[in-house]
C-alpha cells in the first residue's frame, strides 16, 4: 500500500496511473453501453431466421456465445480477450476486428495528420497576423473569420464543397475506389485533399485563438521587454523570444484537437467514403455488429487517452515550469 502511495506522489507516475484508471472506466462503459444495444449477437448474426429457432437452440446459442453468463464474467472474459489482441470477429465479413482496424487505422491517422498540419498552417500565421495589431481591423477581421469557421458544421461544408466541385467541374476523386497512400499516392492524396481541408479549417479556429492569446500574453512578459530594451532586433525578438515560447500552448492545442478529429472523422469519412476507423464504427452500428462497434470505440478511446497522456508528458519536457510545480 505504501508503495502505491509513493507512486501516486510522483507527478508523472500519477498521471500514468490516472490514465490507466480512466482506461479501465472506458472499458467498463464501452462494455455495458453495447450490451444494452437492441438485439443481441444471435439476432444480429441470424437475422430474421433467429425467430425460427426453438427455445433449446436459442439457449444453446446463448451458451455458445457466453450470453448466459453473469455480466461480470462476460466483462472479464471480454477484457481478457481484448488485452490479448482478440477484438472479436465481424459476423458479416467474417474478418477479425483486429485486422479490420489495422487496415482502417492508417487511413484515419493520415487524415488526422494532414488535418492538423492544415489547421496549424492556417491558425498559427493567422494568430501572428491578428496579434501584430491587437484591436485593429486585421485582428477583429480574423476573429470574425475564426468564429465563422468554428460555427460551420463540417458535414455541411463537406456536402456543399464536394457537390459543388462535382457538379461544376466534374471533379469527384472520392467517387472512385479508395486507394491507400502505399497503393497509389497520387490518387490517395487527391482523395484526402478535401476531407483534410474541411477538418483542417475547423481545427484552425481553436489553433488561431490559442496562438493569438499566447502571443499577446508573452509579448507583455518581462523578459521580452528586457530583450527589447537591450536592443534585440524586432524580427529576432518576434521569432526567438515571442513565437518560440508561444508555441508551447499551440502544440498542446494541436494534441487536444486530435480527439475532435477522431470524432470528426465519423462524419467526414462517411461523406468522402474513406475506409477509416470512423466509418468502421458507423458501418458496425448500421449492421448491428456488437463486436465491431465495441472494439472500435474502445480502440478510439484508448488512442485518445494515449495521445492526451503523450501531450501532457511532452508538455513537461518542453516547459520546465510545469516540472517545477
Amino acid at each position: 500500500m505504501s508503495v502505491l502511495l509513493m507512486l501516486t506522489r510522483h507527478p508523472v507516475l500519477r498521471r500514468v496511473l490516472e490514465a490507466a484508471l480512466t482506461l479501465l472506466g472506458v472499458s467498463v462503459l464501452t462494455f455495458t453501453l453495447l450490451r444494452v444495444l437492441p438485439g443481441d449477437q444471435i439476432t444480429a448474426s441470424y437475422g430474421i431466421e433467429a425467430g425460427a429457432l426453438s427455445p433449446e437452440q436459442l439457449a444453446d446459442l446463448r451458451a455458445y456465445y457466453g450470453l448466459d453468463q453473469p455480466l461480470v464474467t462476460q466483462y472479464v472474459h471480454w477484457l481478457g480477450g481484448v488485452v490479448s489482441g482478440n477484438l472479436g470477429v465481424s459476423a458479416t465479413s467474417r474478418q477479425s476486428v483486429l485486422d479490420m482496424t489495422v487496415a482502417a487505422l492508417p487511413n484515419t491517422l493520415e487524415l488526422a495528420v494532414l488535418s492538423i498540419a492544415i489547421g496549424l498552417l492556417l491558425g498559427v500565421p493567422g494568430g501572428l497576423f491578428a496579434a501584430s495589431r491587437p484591436g485593429a481591423t486585421r485582428d477583429s477581421g480574423s476573429q470574425v473569420a475564426s468564429l465563422l469557421a468554428l460555427s460551420l458544421p463540417t458535414f455541411l461544408v463537406a456536402t456543399v464543397v464536394s457537390t459543388w466541385l462535382a457538379n461544376t467541374f466534374g471533379w469527384n476523386p472520392n467517387g472512385e475506389e479508395f486507394a491507400t497512400l502505399a497503393q497509389d499516392p497520387a490518387r490517395n492524396l487527391q482523395q484526402m485533399l478535401l476531407p483534410a481541408l474541411v477538418l483542417g479549417v475547423s481545427i484552425a479556429s481553436p489553433v488561431f485563438q490559442t496562438a493569438r492569446a499566447s502571443i499577446l500574453a508573452i509579448r507583455d512578459e518581462d523578459y521580452v521587454r528586457t530583450a527589447r530594451a537591450k536592443g534585440v532586433p524586432s524580427r529576432r525578438l518576434q521569432y526567438r523570444h515571442v513565437l518560440r515560447n508561444a508555441l508551447i500552448p499551440i502544440v498542446t492545442i494541436g494534441g487536444l484537437q486530435f480527439g475532435f478529429l477522431l470524432g470528426g472523422t465519423l462524419v467526414i469519412e462517411q461523406i468522402f467514403s474513406i475506409p477509416g476507423i470512423g466509418r468502421q464504427v458507423l458501418l458496425g452500428l448500421n449492421q448491428k455488429e456488437y463486436a465491431v462497434v465495441q472494439s472500435t470505440v474502445l480502440v478510439i478511446a484508448v488512442l485518445f487517452v494515449a495521445v492526451n497522456l503523450a501531450t501532457d508528458l511532452l508538455y513537461r519536457v518542453v516547459d520546465p515550469r510545469v516540472r517545477a510545480e
Partner: protein
Amino acid sequence: MSATSTVPARVVRTSRRSQLLVALRAPSAVVGVVLTGLVVLLALAGLVGLTPYDPARQDVAAALQGPSATHWFGTDQFGRDLFSRVCAGLANSLRIAVVSVGVAGVIGVLLGVFAGYFQGLLDRVVGVVTNVLFAFPSLLLALALAATLERSWVTVSLAIATVYMPIFARVARGPVLSLRSVDYVTASTAIGRSRLSTLFAHVVPNMRGILVVQTTLSLSWAILTEASLSFLGFGTPPPAASLGGMVYDSQTLSTVAPWMLAFPGAALVVFVVGLNLVGDSLRAAVDPRSRGAR
C-alpha cells in the same frame, strides 16, 4: 492601446448582471442577438405549429419546386413545404439543445460545485467519471449513446447531455476551488451559516458570468452535435424534420433542387453563428484576459 471603441472601456464598477448586459451592446453581440432572435422566432413558429403548411404533409404534384410565393423555400422530393420543414427542424434543434444543455448544466454544475467545495472522496469520484467521459471524442460518445437508446428526441437530448455534463462539471469546479477559501465565504460559515447554504448564497452566485457563457456556447455545440447525429442517421427519427437529416436528403438531389441544401444549411449556420457571437461577447465581458485586446 486601441482608441477605436466608442463606449468607454471601463464602465463604473457595476454588478455582474449589468456587466453581461453591457456586453450585449457590442456590435457583434447585437448581430448575434438579432440572428439568434430571428431563428428562434422561426423555431417557435415550428414548435407551436404556426407554419404555412403542415411540415409532414406530402403533395407529390408539387414535388421539387423552387422557391416561390406559395412555397418560400421551395419543396422537397415529396412535395413537402421546405419553409415549414425548416421551421420544424429549427424547433427540433432548439428543443434538443435546451433540454440537453439544461440537463447537462444542472447535473454538471451541481457535481462540479459539490466536488470543488466538499472535496475528498466525492471530488475523486467526479474526477474519474469526467475523465472517463472525456476519453471519448464527444461526437462518438453521443453517437454510441444515441444508437444504444430507443430513438426519439428525448434520448438524443439525453445522449448529448451526457457528453456535455462533464464539461459543465469541470468549468464549475475550477472557480469553486478559489472561492471556497475567500474571506467572505469563510466568514459566512464562521458566523454559523451551514456550508451548504453558504455554497448557494455566496459561492454559486459569483460564478454566474462563467456559467452564462458556458451555457450559451454549449447551446451552439448541442445544435451542431444534434445536426451531425441526424446527418449520420442517428438523430431524431423521420418523418420528424431535422436540419441535419434535411441536408443529408438533399445530397442526391443537389443538381435538381439546390434549395433543399441551401435553406436548411443556412438556417443551421445562422443559428450557430448567432449563438457563438453572443457567447463570444459575453465571454469577453466575463474573462478579463480576452477583454484588454478588444
